[in-house]
Symmetry: C2
Subunit: 323 residues, 2 copies
């Protein structure tokens, strides 16, 4: 949500010379992306995003993220395509930080996703999972099952500052997840953060997926579980099974879900809710009051988690068994 690193006109004109992007026309810092600084750049060749990677991104992960976008782009997924410079590099240095140009994707993210959006999302997610097969690099999910307890340990003594019941709730949920987490599901590259603000539409047509900076290797169905949390609850935290059905149907129409994946869905959804509950709680307790980033209320995810705990099967998410 902020421009952390300022880049001057001369510095940028010099930087852009190593790319075949034509002449620089304009460059605006955009209020997008929590982790990095992003500029929207017009050149005589088109529109691009210049991303300057800030401290929270591990530079060792950048070849995975940028390589993945190239891999997916080449296989028909509309996502930002990193631009190679004259020597073939996608990653360079600017203002003392790592930086990359990617193509700009037109589109608006849906502030209030509708059923049609969820259907398109499901299809696009499945296409992305298929396109991600054979990607040569690997990245473990640092915010997957094994990362949750260490993250919780960092703030478990302070959960009362958020809510009196939070500590025990998370403690019990982690025990459940550690005992029940499915280990034999189809694996692959997942987006892992496919919230509405990362999915663009022009009119009703999905025009692209962005922000692959949490992408990693994990159970493909876990990505769907993230989307069930991020797309299918109403503002009052009621689960909308019509949206869930559309998401699952859209996905299944492109990549058929196995019975194991369907069975695991309630557990995966609990895990996904727990993951966002943990990171939001941590950020809530550790974001200074004067930060440029708006804090998000972790309790939203307590409510989602409670719903998932009440779910008996994937049918409760709207999934209809083929007849």
């Amino acid at each position: 949500m902020a421009v952390y690193t300022e880049v001057g006109d001369e510095e940028l004109a010099h930087f852009i010379e190593r790319y075949r992007l034509g002449d620089l026309l304009s460059c605006k810092g955009i209020a997008e992306g929590v982790e990095n600084t992003n500029y929207l750049v017009h050149t005589t060749k088109g529109t691009f995003i210049l991303t300057i990677y800030e401290k929270r991104v591990d530079p060792n992960d950048l070849p995975f993220f940028l390589g993945l976008m190239e891999h997916l782009s080449a296989r028909g997924v509309t996502c930002p395509l990193p631009v190679r410079d004259v020597s073939g590099r996608v990653l360079n240095e600017l203002a003392g930080r790592h930086a990359a140009f990617v193509t700009f994707l037109e589109g608006m993210w849906p502030k209030r996703p509708k059923v049609e959006h969820c259907l398109e999302l499901g299809k696009a997610l499945a296409l992305m999972h298929i396109a991600g097969e054979n990607f040569s690099l690997r990245r473990d999910n640092a915010l997957g099952l094994r990362g949750w307890r260490p993250l919780f340990d960092k703030f478990s003594a302070r959960t009362d500052e958020i809510s009196g019941e939070l500590g025990q709730l998370v403690e019990r949920e982690l025990s459940f997840l550690e005992a029940s987490w499915p280990t034999d599901l189809p694996q692959g590259v997942i987006h892992a953060d496919l919230f509405p603000d990362n999915v663009f539409f022009i009119g009703k047509k999905l025009s692209g997926l962005i922000d692959f900076y949490f992408a990693c290797n994990d159970a493909l169905a876990y990505d769907i579980a993230v989307c069930l949390n991020a797309w299918c609850f109403e503002a009052n935290f009621q689960f909308n099974a019509t949206k869930g059905r559309a998401l699952l149907r859209g996905y299944n129409s492109v990549r058929q879900l196995s019975s194991k994946e369907l069975e695991a869905m309630p557990t995966l959804a609990r895990g996904a809710a727990t993951r966002f509950l943990l990171t939001r709680s941590y950020d809530w307790l550790n974001t200074p009051d004067d930060a440029l980033v708006a804090r998000k209320d972790p309790i939203d995810y307590v409510r989602r988690l409670r719903f998932h705990q009440s779910v008996e099967s994937v049918g409760d998410y709207g999934y209809e068994q083929a007849r």
Copy 2:
């Protein structure tokens, strides 16, 4: 420097329908403009800036600002052109605030202005002054001579929080300005805030002027005095007479400065330095620590003011009398 008012995709798609701007493709909040929220909007017809006017702007002034941009545009000044909706209006409501679309100007502002920039700036400023003749609306300069003392009165008891010498310096300077301010100079529409970030260049060519939200009626030469302060000092607060000469020569080549204007320049420059010293001091004392806007050090303008106090004639700014 921030997006104060968020606009959702549906709200914007609905809003844009009343303009003949084609279909909405994307909309990014940009980190530009201290007072208002600005979005960079791509449509099938082109690129536009959507400005949402925040509380600090008096809605009664908006017809002046927007009308001026139309007036100047029609007379060859490259500045944002307000877009009229189907019923001919340039000002509408969005998210409970006044809002307008203007055309987007390509260009980069010079972070470290060079002599050539100052020359182009001088020409463009003179062209703007000429183009502004006959503009039918009027707006007094709220931050002109008569506004300075009332503004100072708001924080004069707290100047010690900035610097021990500030109170007496301003007090004396205001007395000098009130006694010496020239009243018989050519008047017209001035920009009044033509800092480098409001002047775009593509390569070495000036591509446009933006941000007319301080524009008003005042002495034309006062606009030059603002530019002498904003463009012609080095980072160490040394005045660069080569830049001053270029600015004055560029201006004079388009609109000849009268001998009264030339004589008044040192006083006008003191006034301009005082104006920015006052507003920066006020903001310094009144901006909450957690604000999204970076505070600018008022002392920078004490240094500029001290230089102007030492100036004997416009020659000290680099001006060369025609021979």
